[in-house]
């Protein structure tokens, strides 16, 4: 065809397809000038669609951001629990907490990847929207000029070029929107799954479906039995020292907070020891 005819392959084939598509649309109208008006309407619709697309991607990105914060909080909590457990001499619990933290961290990394991908999509669509806006504005001007200056017969060549040019842009933008929509849908499905896991208290499959709070429950239990031990020790000391026999009126055992290190160690294996 022209100088670049030597360049066969993907690039030319794609451009040929785009042109064929535009020509087919042009053939639909007897007066090519009608094509311009029709195309302009389509362009405005597409612009709206791109803007909606940008907004959708942004919403999706914000949702992922929110989840990243939640997952980070979970990770921090597990870290705290690991420290508490270790301080209480429960290395097994600490290990469990850290294992979970590791899988939560990998989830976080996955979310970060998603976030970056959505951010990239958002930038691309925003740029596409700006390009399209500039072209649509230019098209409106050229359309009126062509209509005012040329007869239908004369206008054909000019219309052909401007129409093919804008159709190509619209096809490109249309594909970009489709891609962004697909990506957003994928992300939303994944985000929904994570939300459900969060809501159910089980963080993820990687955690073996165990409620994330069982470590906390164990720590609480240790804390509670520590209090019981303290209370018992206090009572024994009082009894041994001939303290008043009336013990009633004491605070409920669960709420009692020992104000000193228990001097007596209960023999239960589960009791939180100071060793």
């Amino acid at each position: 065809m022209r100088g670049w005819a030597a360049l066969m392959g993907v690039m030319k084939r794609v451009s040929t397809i785009f042109r064929a598509k535009a020509n087919k649309a042009l053939d639909k109208y007897e007066d090519p000038r009608e094509t311009l008006d029709y195309s302009y309407t389509t362009q405005l619709e597409l612009l709206q669609k791109v803007r909606r697309g940008v907004a959708d991607v942004a919403t999706s990105r914000k949702r992922v951001e929110l989840q990243m914060n939640q997952v980070q909080q979970t990770s921090d909590k597990l870290d705290r629990q690991a420290r508490d457990a270790l301080a209480a001499g429960r290395e097994d619990l600490a290990r469990e907490a850290l294992t979970r933290k590791a899988s939560v961290q990998s989830q976080l990394a996955d979310l970060q990847t998603q976030y970056a991908s959505l951010q990239g999509e958002e930038e691309k669509l925003t740029a596409a929207s700006q390009r399209l806006q500039a072209k649509v504005d230019a098209f409106r001007v050229r359309k009126e000029t062509i209509k005012a200056t040329y007869t239908a017969a004369e206008a054909t060549t000019r219309i052909n070029e401007v129409f093919t040019g804008i159709s190509e842009e619209m096809s490109d933008v249309g594909l970009a929107i489709q891609r962004a929509e697909d990506k957003t849908a994928q992300m939303q499905a994944r985000a929904g799954a994570i939300d459900e896991l969060m809501a159910s208290g089980a963080l993820s499959d990687a955690l073996g479906g165990t409620p994330a709070d069982d470590i906390q429950a164990e720590l609480d239990r240790m804390g509670a039995s520590g209090s019981v031990d303290g209370e018992l020790a206090k009572m024994k000391a009082e009894l041994a020292g001939g303290a008043p026999k009336q013990l009633a009126g004491g605070a409920p055992v669960q709420d009692a907070v020992p104000d000193q290190t228990p001097g007596y160690q209960a023999p239960q294996p589960n009791a939180g020891g100071t060793q």
């Binding site: 360049l7 535009a22 050229r142 040019g165």
Partner: protein, 92 residues
């Protein structure tokens, strides 16, 4: 010559630039035909880099058909296949 990088915009290339892109395009098409995703990404990236080096960005308000259309960075072989399959992917 005007080329479009899909999702990115159009570039105007000087005469003769096509020759320089041509050899890279051959690699690209070979990768597509063999369905070699890794080779495809490498070839596509090289091709786009070269095109950007050689070309000059067209103003946003230019309305001109492209002589050549390149898949955008990050495109997959599948997407290119779809593009080539009678424009099945192309809306409108």
């Amino acid at each position: 010559m005007i080329i479009r990088i899909m999702g990115e915009g159009q570039l105007r290339l000087p005469d003769g630039a096509a020759e320089k892109l041509n050899e890279l395009d051959v690699d690209l098409e070979a990768a597509v035909d063999k369905h070699d995703e890794d080779a495809f990404h490498v070839a596509l990236h090289k091709l786009l880099e070269r095109a950007r080096e050689l070309g000059e960005t067209l103003p946003h308000d230019a309305i001109e058909p492209s002589d050549l259309i390149l898949p955008g960075e990050g495109a997959t072989i599948e997407e290119v296949h779809d593009l080539l399959a009678d424009g099945g992917l192309i809306p409108g």
